[in-house]
């Protein structure tokens, strides 16, 4: 069966899988952004920079460990932790003093950090692009209806639901998750039952940034690791968070699906205009539901 005269079902399915793997990365990064936005009320523009740092750190750790399979897994674990550590220092050193300021101030402040992080990356890694390999077990591809489907993308498709499940568990089943939900709405009252809100915010910020780092580490083997890879992701993830409903993690999942799939399918149908499809989808969603698809916490 052909959808359009010259597109086979197989090609369609293959693009669908590619779109879903892209969705995984977008979801992981956007959920971190959404978490920070929802609980701390910080529109963290530097989130994309942390994603970039995650990718560069993954490259460095993997090469230091001699590349190969062990290097990859080590990088996947350590790079997000490194990013989390950086974010902890930034939060304790600076952000924690600024929560009472208005959103515009916070926005400008995090924007300043994108410049700082951008220059830091240039200083540490230079301006050449880097690349790293997936472990041999995840190289090559499977056959899907006669088309090759990269094993690494399949790996991403497994990671995505694991992260989503982990986040669900964290926000709904753990004490810190419940406290964070309460603090998102009424931080004064959370303090008034004896909880140190400052540390709750620090934890949420670090978890959110960890997700940016994880996204960066996961994407590293699939593309060139370059200066400027923060720009695209921050725009995309902000749009995802907006259409999903600010601060709503399931909204981030939904938004990432819409963005990832329209992108992948768009390429198939109208290659020349592929880039506009996700944005058209965003505009359509916002015209129909200006506050986002799911309940926004703002």
């Amino acid at each position: 069966m052909d959808l359009l005269p010259n597109i086979s079902l197989a090609a369609f399915c293959q693009q669908l899988l590619v779109g879903l793997s892209r969705t995984t990365i977008l979801f992981i990064v956007a959920s971190g952004l959404s978490l920070v936005l929802g609980v701390l009320r910080i529109p963290n523009v530097a989130h994309g920079s942390l994603y970039m740092i995650g990718a560069f750190l993954a490259y460095t750790i993997a090469s230091a460990a001699g590349g190969g399979t062990f290097g990859f897994w080590l990088a996947l674990v350590l790079a997000p932790l490194g990013v989390a550590l950086i974010s902890l220092a930034v939060e304790r050193g600076l952000f924690c003093r600024l929560y009472e300021r208005e959103h515009l101030m916070l926005l400008l402040f995090t924007f300043a950090f994108t410049l700082v992080f951008g220059d830091l990356v240039k200083l540490v890694w230079g301006s050449d692009f880097r690349s790293m390999n997936a472990p041999t077990s995840l190289q090559g591809s499977f056959d899907v209806l006669g088309f090759p489907f990269p094993k690494y993308n399949l790996f991403l498709l497994i990671i995505g639901p694991i992260v989503a499940l982990g986040l669900w568990w964290l926000t709904n089943k753990t004490k810190i998750g419940k406290i964070a939900k309460a603090a998102a709405v009424d931080r004064e009252m959370v303090a008034a039952v004896g909880i140190n809100v400052s540390w709750v915010f620090a934890s949420v910020f670090v978890i959110g940034c960890f997700l940016a780092g994880l996204g960066g580490a996961l994407v590293a083997p699939t593309q060139n690791i370059t200066q400027g890879m923060d720009h695209g992701i921050i725009i995309e993830t902000f749009l995802i968070v907006i259409i999903g409903g600010l601060g709503n993690i399931w909204g981030a999942l939904l938004g990432a699906l819409i963005f990832g799939l329209t992108d992948a399918i768009g390429i198939l149908i109208f290659p020349q205009f592929a880039i506009v499809f996700p944005y058209v989808a965003v505009i359509t969603v916002l015209m129909l539901r200006p506050k986002g698809l799911l309940k926004s916490v703002w």
Partner: protein, 232 residues
């Protein structure tokens, strides 16, 4: 147990409390009476640290806590029930209680089970989202939540405001029971009936300063004062 000395509290630039001094002794229920906008909530917020005073001293069990952060005051044994309830609306009744639980050294052992025994109505709705509860149920929950922090001193800001007479009666009975367990209570109220029946001593606040202090019986006898500062 609690001593306020010459508090001056501001919201931004507007000066709200003028030279407020009060004392609450262990085991008492002290009532802070005053009209709308008199400064009752501001006094309570000054004590718990949500709106710290610009000058003056808040002393709790002999320690100056004027500049201490709210959560640390709570850990010392001061619990706060706000005037507008403020349950954690996205959480269930049970979760509201669980996240407020705190181990303390003072020998009070409030846990969710004990709160449910104290307010049996809450047990029936423990899995319900607290945002969906009635006003009376929310008020029981905010008191239960405050008890979960194992306080020695409970600050209650207009607990009966806007509630049906039957619920008011129930809450008054339970507050009296809390006093019998040794809990000290500072009760801010407009409602004289309930508060005078519960309290040992009274402060009257008007326009941000303390206008009268005395025993409940003295106030009952003093019609002039009541006419002047309270709506009768």
């Amino acid at each position: 147990m609690l001593r306020l000395e010459n508090l001056h509290t501001y919201y931004g630039l507007s000066h709200i409390l003028f030279d407020v001094s009060m004392e609450v002794n262990a085991g008492e229920i002290v009532c802070l009476l005053g009209r709308n906008g008199a400064g009752k909530s501001t006094t309570i917020r000054s004590i718990i640290g949500l709106t710290p005073p610009k000058s003056g001293v808040v002393e709790y069990k002999g320690t100056d806590i004027t500049r201490e952060k709210t959560h640390l005051r709570v850990r010392r044994g001061i619990a706060y029930v706000p005037d507008d309830r403020r349950v954690f609306a996205d959480l269930t009744v049970d979760e509201n209680l669980q996240i407020s639980a705190r181990e303390t050294q003072n020998g009070n052992h409030w846990d969710a089970e004990r709160v449910y025994r104290f307010f049996p109505a809450l047990r029936e709705i423990k899995t319900r989202r607290s945002g969906h509860l009635s006003g009376g149920e929310q008020q029981m929950l905010t008191i239960g939540r405050a008890l979960m922090t194992n306080p020695d001193l409970l600050l209650l800001d207009e607990p009966t405001e806007g509630l049906a007479p039957l619920v008011v009666k129930l809450l008054a009975e339970q507050i009296a029971k809390l006093r019998d367990t040794g809990l000290t209570v500072l009760l801010a109220e407009q409602n004289q009936e309930v508060s005078l029946q519960l309290s040992n001593r009274v402060y009257i606040i008007d326009n941000g300063s303390i206008k009268y202090t005395g025993s409940v019986d003295d106030l009952r006898a003093n019609e002039a004062i009541r006419r002047k500062f309270l709506c009768i």
